[in-house]
Each structure stands twice: as structure tokens, then as C-alpha cells.
């Protein structure tokens, strides 16, 4: 288990991490969320000693993370960067060897990842000759080539087109099934909901919400109700129930145990009921609620 224990980091007056604590369970994918400047990148850098916390520590299976352990981790930093003039295949193999693989292992692992990302034909191209999306794939390949036990990925989906995102999501799911522990940050909450089993939401350097995505949704005291009558949104005022308009959607906000039959009856009286959706909040709703914005 990867554990962030009471991490605190200050930059002058700015508190980047404020006793940040959470765990990432083996073989699971955890979405690490938070508004810009919440402290996600600082926390991820602490895993690799790139930032030394003022107090607290990150542990893997109960022990501190030393250089040997770090080599069993994979890291994709938020600030993308590889050698622009180095050939793609050489570059991936180089990071494999730097992580401890011998020459033969590094070559076969490189071939595997080039094929996995459909880049086998570009192995001899210089990195700078690749499209942005393909460079992103190479970056992920460099983070994963040495078959790490833990992958820490800072915004791995940023800048990818929908197909690229789906490929990346499939890769992460398959790796987690194979036992890899994955933590990644993202602002694409739909994607996080789709890919992750667990989420941690932080704000101002500390955790404001954490748990299993489905469980968090289920346990939320709030439910949203959307009703359509005769194919059009039904927006009548319901006594004792608040509602909100968001992007053309009219949603009633209810408690989890609210008696919805009355509303159902009321809507039916106005015409043919074409839609009646009573749902827990999605991840975006949970995020907004947690960070209070």
C-alpha cells in the first residue's frame, strides 16, 4: 500500500501541503483530484524525493521509499519532458536501463510498449518529429517500461484526443488488473469516474473527500431528479424542493430519502412522462461540493 502520511510542505507563506494523508491500495486505480494549486503535483513529487516535505512521509508497504524502491515506481510528471532529438525507441530503452533493466530486457520492453501504443513504425523517429499526442504516449511508455509496481501519473490525459484518452484508459485498466497500483491526477472528472475505483479530492493541501467512487456517490445525502414531460423538461415548482438550471438541464435537488412518488404523480398530471431520472451525484457534483466552489 502506498501511503501519504501527514505530509506538510510550505513555500514561504504558502502552505502547499497541510498534513495530507491518504492511501492507495495495491492493484487499484486512484484518481487524485483537486483544483489548480491544491497541492497535487507537490504531493506526487514527494513520492520521488523531488520535493522534501517539511514533515510527514510517503511509505510503500510500511517502509520509507529509498532509491531502490523508487526504481520500482514509474513517474510521469506534469511538466512533460523527454529528449527532443533522441530517437523514440532509444529513449524508452534508455529509461528502462536507467531503472535497472539489462540491455535485452530493455529492448523487448521497448518493443512491447511501442506496439502497445501503435508506435512500432516510429521507433527510429526523433521524438520532436512526433505529434503531441504521440509524444504523450512515449512519455507514458517511459514511465511504465520497467514494469513498475506503482505508477504515479500527473495529468496523463491532458492534451490527448478522445481516441488517445480511451487507449490510455484501457492501458491503465489492464495494468491495474495485472496488479499495478496507479495514482493519477486529472481535471477530466468523467474520465476519472470511468477509469478509477477510488478518488481522493484535495483542496488547500489537505484531503476534503476520499473513498470508492461508487460508494461516495451512493452515500451522498443528495440526489438529483430530472423529469421530462411530452419530451420537454418539466420545470414546475415543487413545494419544499430546490431546483437548479445548469447548461439547459433543470434538476431538482432532493435528499437521498425524499418521497419522489408525489413529484412523479404531479408530473404525470401534466402530460405523458417521457423521462424520470433520479440519480446520485456524479463525480463533478461531488468535487464541486467538496471544494465548495
Amino acid at each position: 500500500m502506498l501511503e501519504f502520511g501527514e505530509l506538510t510542505k510550505r513555500y514561504g507563506e504558502v502552505v502547499a501541503l497541510d498534513r495530507l494523508s491518504f492511501q492507495v491500495h495495491p492493484g487499484r486505480i486512484l484518481g487524485f483530484l483537486g483544483p489548480n494549486g491544491a497541492g497535487k503535483t507537490t504531493a506526487m513529487r514527494c513520492v520521488f524525493g523531488l520535493v522534501a516535505p517539511d514533515s510527514g512521509r510517503v511509505t510503500w508497504n510500511g517502509a520509507g521509499i529509498d532509491r531502490e524502491t523508487q526504481l520500482r515506481f514509474g513517474y510521469m510528471p506534469e511538466e512533460r519532458g523527454l529528449y527532443p532529438k533522441m530517437r523514440v525507441g532509444e529513449q524508452i530503452a534508455y529509461f528502462a536501463r536507467l531503472s535497472g533493466m539489462d540491455g535485452g530486457e530493455a529492448t523487448s520492453a521497448t518493443d512491447h510498449w511501442l506496439a502497445r501504443f501503435d508506435l512500432s513504425a516510429r521507433g527510429d523517429s526523433k521524438l520532436e518529429e512526433l505529434s503531441h499526442g504521440n509524444q504523450q504516449r512515449v512519455q507514458l511508455a517511459c514511465a511504465l517500461v520497467h514494469r513498475p509496481e506503482v505508477a504515479v501519473l500527473d495529468e496523463p490525459f491532458a492534451g490527448l484526443d478522445p481516441i488517445g484518452m480511451e487507449t490510455m484508459a484501457q492501458v491503465l485498466r489492464a495494468l491495474a488488473v495485472a496488479g499495478m497500483t496507479i495514482v493519477f491526477s486529472s481535471h477530466q472528472l468523467d474520465l476519472v469516474a470511468d477509469v478509477c475505483q477510488d478518488v481522493v479530492i484535495i483542496d488547500n493541501g489537505h484531503v476534503v473527500l476520499s473513498g470508492e467512487v461508487n460508494e461516495l456517490r451512493r452515500l451522498s445525502p443528495v440526489r438529483f431528479l430530472e423529469v421530462e414531460v411530452n419530451g420537454r423538461p418539466w420545470t414546475k415548482h415543487v413545494e419544499g424542493v430546490t431546483s437548479s438550471d445548469d447548461n439547459g438541464r433543470h434538476r431538482y435537488v432532493l435528499s437521498r430519502t425524499a418521497p419522489i412518488e408525489q413529484i412523479l404523480e404531479q408530473a404525470r398530471r401534466d402530460g405523458e412522462l417521457t423521462r424520470f431520472a433520479f440519480e446520485p451525484p456524479n463525480l463533478t457534483d461531488l468535487f464541486r461540493e467538496a471544494v465548495g466552489r
Partner: protein
């Protein structure tokens, strides 16, 4: 995974990527090509120009031809004499370049446009000797009696210090060439280290590398990888110089042996000097992330090394003077001053050992200092990091 194997991988990448670059390969081919031409050029400049052709015309004293030849031998001026029937023919021969000069009886020495005093001395001295013999015979004097009259006192010659030999001159020339190569190599390959560090920071790849290795490993790997490239360049240049000098034959000097000795010293002091300056360059490179900031930061090592470069030039002429002896122990200058002293003079072994030891100790300290600055600056996102801020930012 050992610390050393990672340093090896880091060094290998820097070495291979830079060695493969077209700019490096082309500059190598170009420089070696230029060096290879030095030998044939020297040989051409040193070739035997052959005798100077001189014309004779008009009435000359008996024995003039023989006397001119003797005078030419005495003054080490090889000449070939040709006799012409009249003044017009000899003037035409001079104008057409057939001969360089002519002597016209006891009247005049004729040149084309410029008078050569040495050639004039050969011709007039020779003819005057012939005339002297004729006049002496007329007066009934023997040649010995003439000598006593002309040279009544015979002086001996004595020098207080040995004259500079051809070998001394060759050593001084080798020291100058070696000093230039040493200075340029330390600066160029030191700046390659700085550029490499800056580029890794600029492209942000350093964060990926740092998730696997320690900052000092990156710095050491880069210094080794690029330093090896510089070493290969020096050895290739030295090899080319040895090859090209093997075609030159100057007096009795064994240029090949001298060349090997100088190359050995060059390699030793390059390695020591480069290690010192490249660590400094590397640490400074971590404080910047833009090409345009490089020039300003790169000035510091240049300002440090420059006095050493000038003192080393003075040390070639005066290798045992106090300035040379003191500065060859000062680590920032010793790589150049001690190197040239070792070429042109017999430096005491203890002096060389002390110089190397001091430089190694200082370099070791600089690795710790530079490593900390590198660590503190490399992940800073500001375009330029102050040295003090980098120092504070690095932990321990």
C-alpha cells in the same frame, strides 16, 4: 541497480548522443583535416630552395670565380655562376628572372629591383679577395703577411648561457600549441556540460531522470560522458599531429617522442582541468533554463581560467620564475601553467604531485558544492535561479 551502473548509463547517453550529432562529427573531420595539413605545409616551407644564379660580366680579377665560390661557402649562401658576353645580355637575364644578380667587372653589382646585402657581400667580398691576392702578389707579400695586416688581433668568443637549441624551440612551440588546445578543450567541453544541463532543465526531462537517479549522479554522468568525448577529440588531434609531424625532418630532433610526451601531458592536464571546470559549468547550467541566459552565466569560469591562460604563456619563456612556480600550484590555473612548465622545463616531481593533489582536493570540494547548487536549482521553474537561492533550496 548500482550507483555506478546508473552513472554509466547517464554518461553513455551524453557521450553517444553528442558524438552522433552532425555538428560534432563535422567539426572533428574539419579540425583533424587542418591538423593533418600542418606537416606537409611545414615540409614545404622548410624545403631546400636551391642555389641562387648569379651572372658575371666585364673584366674581373684573376681567380674571381673561385674566390666568389669560397666566399659563398663561407657565408653559407649556395650560388651558381654564369658568364655573359656583355652588359645588355646580363641585364636581360636579370629582368627575365634567369639570374638574381650580376657583378659587372669592378664597377657595379646589378639587381632587378631590390638590393640583397647578403648576396652583394658574397659577390663583392669574393671579387675583393681575388683583387687583394693580385695586389699582394704585385707588392711581393705572402698571403699570411696580408692576413696579419688585415686581421692584427684574433678574438675568442664565449657565451655565458647555452644557446637555445632546436629542441628548446620545438618544446616551446609544442607548449604553445598544447596550451591552446588545452584551454579551448576545457572551455568548449565545459560549456557542453553547461548546455546539456540547461537543456535537460529547459525540456523538463530532468524530472523524469531525477525520479530514478540522484542529482549528483546526473552531474557526474554528464561530466564523464562529455569529458570522454573531449578526450577522444584531443587524442585524435594529437594522433593527427604526430602523424603529420612525422613527415617533417628538423635538425636532429625526435619530434615523435616529443609529440608523445606532450600528448601525454595534455591528456593528464585536460582530464584534471576539465573535471574542475566542467563541474562548475554544470552547477551554473542548472541555474538557467534559457539559451539566452547562457552567455552571462558562462562568463564566470572564463574569467577564472583566463589569467591562467596568460600566465601560462609567460611561463613558457620563464618556466622556473616565481610567478610560474606559484600559479602552477593554484587549482584554477595549475592545469595550464603546470602543463606548459612540464613541457619546457624539468619540474620537480614534488611540485607536480602537489599541484595534482591540490587540484583533486579542490575538485572534490567543488563536486559537493556544485552538486548542492545543481540539486537546489534544477527543479526551480524560474528562468534564472540565484546561486544563493539554489544553495538554500537544496536540502543538506
Amino acid at each position: 541497480m548500482t550507483y555506478r551502473r546508473q552513472v554509466f548509463e547517464l554518461a553513455k547517453r551524453d557521450f553517444v548522443q553528442r558524438a552522433k550529432s552532425k555538428a560534432f562529427l563535422m567539426s572533428m573531420v574539419l579540425i583533424i583535416g587542418v591538423v593533418l595539413m600542418i606537416g606537409p605545409l611545414l615540409a614545404f616551407a622548410d624545403r631546400d630552395p636551391g642555389p641562387t644564379y648569379v651572372g658575371l660580366v666585364g673584366d674581373l680579377p684573376t681567380g674571381s670565380v673561385e674566390a666568389i665560390r669560397l666566399q659563398a661557402d663561407f657565408l653559407d649562401y649556395p650560388i651558381e655562376l654564369r658568364t655573359y658576353p656583355d652588359l645588355a645580355a646580363v641585364e636581360q637575364a636579370i629582368v627575365e628572372g634567369e639570374i638574381s644578380a650580376a657583378i659587372n667587372g669592378l664597377d657595379e653589382v646589378i639587381f632587378r629591383d631590390e638590393v640583397s646585402l647578403r648576396l652583394e657581400a658574397v659577390l663583392t667580398g669574393g671579387v675583393a679577395n681575388a683583387q687583394r691576392q693580385t695586389l699582394a702578389a704585385d707588392l711581393g707579400l705572402t698571403l699570411d703577411e696580408v692576413d696579419v695586416l688585415l686581421f692584427p688581433v684574433a678574438f675568442d668568443q664565449r657565451t655565458l648561457e647555452p644557446a637555445e637549441t632546436d629542441e628548446d624551440n620545438a618544446r616551446q612551440a609544442a607548449a604553445i600549441a598544447g596550451l591552446m588546445l588545452l584551454y579551448i578543450s576545457i572551455l568548449i567541453f565545459g560549456q557542453f556540460v553547461m548546455m546539456g544541463v540547461m537543456e535537460e532543465k529547459q525540456t523538463r526531462v530532468v524530472e523524469v531522470v531525477l525520479s530514478r537517479v540522484k542529482p549528483t549522479q546526473i552531474l557526474i554522468g554528464k561530466v564523464i560522458g562529455i569529458g570522454l568525448l573531449g578526450l577522444i577529440q584531443i587524442v585524435a588531434l594529437g594522433g593527427a599531429a604526430l602523424l603529420t609531424l612525422s613527415v617533417v625532418d628538423i635538425a636532429d630532433i625526435d619530434l615523435t617522442n616529443l609529440g608523445i610526451e606532450v600528448l601525454g601531458l595534455l591528456v593528464l592536464w585536460y582530464l584534471l582541468g576539465y573535471a574542475f571546470y566542467s563541474v562548475m559549468y554544470g552547477a551554473l547550467g542548472a541555474t538557467i533554463s534559457r539559451q539566452e541566459d547562457m552567455q552571462g552565466v558562462a562568463m564566470l569560469p572564463v574569467l577564472l581560467i583566463l589569467p591562467g591562460f596568460f600566465i601560462a604563456q609567460l611561463a613558457i619563456a620563464s618556466p622556473e620564475g616565481w610567478l610560474a612556480r606559484v600559479t602552477s600550484l593554484v587549482p584554477v590555473w595549475s592545469p595550464m601553467v603546470m602543463a606548459v612548465r612540464s613541457v619546457v622545463s624539468d619540474v620537480a616531481t614534488w611540485e607536480v604531485a602537489a599541484s595534482i593533489l591540490l587540484l583533486l582536493l579542490t575538485t572534490y570540494g567543488l563536486v559537493a558544492l556544485g552538486g548542492r547548487i545543481y540539486r537546489g536549482a534544477i527543479l526551480q521553474t524560474a528562468t534564472k535561479t540565484k546561486l544563493r537561492a539554489a544553495w538554500r533550496s537544496a536540502s543538506g
